[in-house]
């Protein structure tokens, strides 16, 4: 046991924890993005609200969710521990700033991570926390005519606190009643400052992953002449371009579509 403790207390062990939690968070944002693309489906939140209900009431996902919150905290905590140790390693700095070739993102991971942490706190308190705790959050009833496939929606009042979702079929009409998180999304993304903050945070995400994704592979020791270019390409184009752009498109899209 002491040997395992020793492994994770070593400089490389701490970096291993950073790499593993970081890569786990990378896989999470793929899933998160996939689900949130439902926001673009223009169905008045039907798909999105059902998805939000599924995420919060399907036990395996709830377990993974707690693993995820733990990963975020451990990643941030170890970042602080390593930064303090790294600062201690150079108590007297240089008079002339270092001019060595190193990418901006690689030198500012702490700053970028701090922006992301602030973003996660605000983002989760707005959507995750209020979804679980805000008693004023309303419900929606979606009626789909199974013959024509047309869906209409109205506000719904379940009348009791424990209600989360119901699905029934009456006279070829499917009735789905579910908590209306979509209305909160519309409300939040109608604020210009909120949208700007989200876009900045996604910029930070981009630069954080531009360095972080490939750096995690280096830390794990997975560097290979044949595969490292693939890791770089995925880290750059998928994690630092496509994912942040798609996430940033959501608040921008909602700001312009639902302004009136």
């Amino acid at each position: 046991m002491s040997e395992i403790k020793q492994t994770f207390n070593s400089s490389l062990g701490k970096k291993l924890i950073m790499a593993l939690t970081g890569l786990f968070l990378c896989t999470f944002i793929i899933v998160h993005l996939g689900g949130n693309l439902l926001l673009f489906s223009n169905d008045n939140g039907f798909g999105f609200n059902v998805y939000a209900n599924f995420l919060t009431h399907f036990p395996p996902i709830e377990v993974i969710a707690y693993l995820l919150y733990l990963s975020i905290l451990v990643h941030a905590l170890y970042a602080i521990i390593l930064t303090v140790k790294n600062r201690k390693a150079r108590p007297v700095g240089y008079a002339v700033a270092q001019k060595s070739d190193a990418t901006w993102s690689s030198k500012n991971m702490g700053l970028l991570g701090s922006i992301l942490f602030l973003f996660i706190v605000i983002h989760m308190s707005d959507f995750w926390f209020s979804y679980h705790n805000d008693k004023t959050m309303g419900f929606k009833e979606y009626r789909t005519d199974l013959k024509t496939g047309v869906t209409t929606d109205v506000d719904y009042n379940p009348g009791y606190a424990e209600f989360n979702k119901s699905v029934s079929v009456v006279n070829d009409v499917e009735i789905v009643r579910v908590k209306d998180l979509h209305a909160r999304v519309v409300r939040s993304f109608s604020s210009l400052w909120y949208v700007i903050f989200y876009v900045i945070a996604m910029g930070a995400l981009s630069f954080h992953l531009l360095h972080g994704f490939q750096s995690a592979f280096r830390t794990l020791g997975w560097v290979h002449r044949k595969y490292t270019p693939v890791v770089y390409a995925v880290g750059t184009w998928f994690f630092a371009v496509i994912i942040p752009l798609a996430f940033a498109a959501m608040p921008v899209y909602y700001f312009f579509m639902h302004r009136g």
Partner: protein, 261 residues
């Protein structure tokens, strides 16, 4: 200057010893030939300081042909100066221009305490090396040359790592004062070759443990070390070290002090 020589202003870190705090002192270096090496330029300055009865500037040097790893100096924001792939002793004054101000600092790391002025104590590297950076050769008959076949690509890779001269520029360049490029090069050099296999996993553990004990920082893969290394040691060495270390710690039986049992 009619003869092509240069006049320079030097801002040099002067520090009596590790116990006292230091400060920058400005010197004029006059009529410096562009063909001089950086250390020869300092020799000229020191000679005039000595003639004036001042204490000459203390700096490390030995072979002056770029292979001993003794010279250091953090020059204008770069370990070993602005030119790539050279040590300070191989840096020529033609890299600078007439009238330039050159700031010279010692390597900055808690594991490299200043001995005097620009000279730092790099014995932390010696202790890391002694912890496992060797191959034990037992007595017996001399093995035939080339008896063990080594693929060329592996031999080349090991040789590239072996070019590390242990100067500490990687530590000086790293924003975290991490020694992982040095340790990675030493672990890789031996870990790639057949002769290094018996001690490979013990070596990775003991050298990393000693590195941590010396108080170096941790790598964040910025690549500043690779850019500043006078021998152009690649960042891949750090990944190889990580690979050996994690293999050792997570999947191997070898312990650091197995030989003491």
């Amino acid at each position: 200057m009619s003869n092509g020589n240069m006049n320079l202003t030097l801002k040099v870190w002067r520090q009596k010893n590790a116990q006292t705090s230091g400060k920058f002192v400005t010197y004029k270096a006059e009529s410096i030939s562009p063909d001089m090496s950086f250390l020869e330029m300092l020799d000229v300055v020191n000679e005039s300081l000595t003639h004036k009865g001042d204490e000459p500037i203390n700096f490390d040097h030995d072979c002056r042909e770029g292979i001993c790893g003794m010279c250091s100096l953090y020059i204008n924001g770069h370990p070993h100066g602005p030119k790539r792939g050279v040590t300070t002793c191989q840096l020529h004054m033609r890299t600078f221009h007439d009238g330039e101000t050159i700031t010279i600092e010692p390597w900055r790391a808690s594991a490299f305490p200043v001995v005097k002025d620009l000279a730092v104590d790099r014995s932390a590297f010696d202790r890391i090396q002694q912890a496992g950076g060797y191959v034990s050769v037992n007595t017996g008959g001399v093995p035939d040359g080339n008896a063990i076949a080594i693929p060329k690509v592996i031999a080349d890779e090991a040789f590239n790592s072996a070019t590390c001269i242990g100067c500490g520029a990687c530590v000086a360049a790293c924003k975290n004062a991490s020694a992982m490029l040095f340790v990675g090069a030493k672990i890789t050099q031996l870990g790639l070759l057949p002769q290094g296999q018996p001690e490979r996993y013990r070596r990775a553990q003991s050298m990393v443990a000693q590195m941590d004990e010396e108080g170096f920082g941790s790598c964040t893969n910025t690549g500043a070390c690779e850019a500043e290394c006078p021998k152009e040691i690649k960042l891949t060495n750090i990944a190889r070290m990580n690979n050996d270390f994690f293999s050792a710690k997570l999947f191997r039986e070898e312990e650091i002090h197995e030989d003491k049992h």
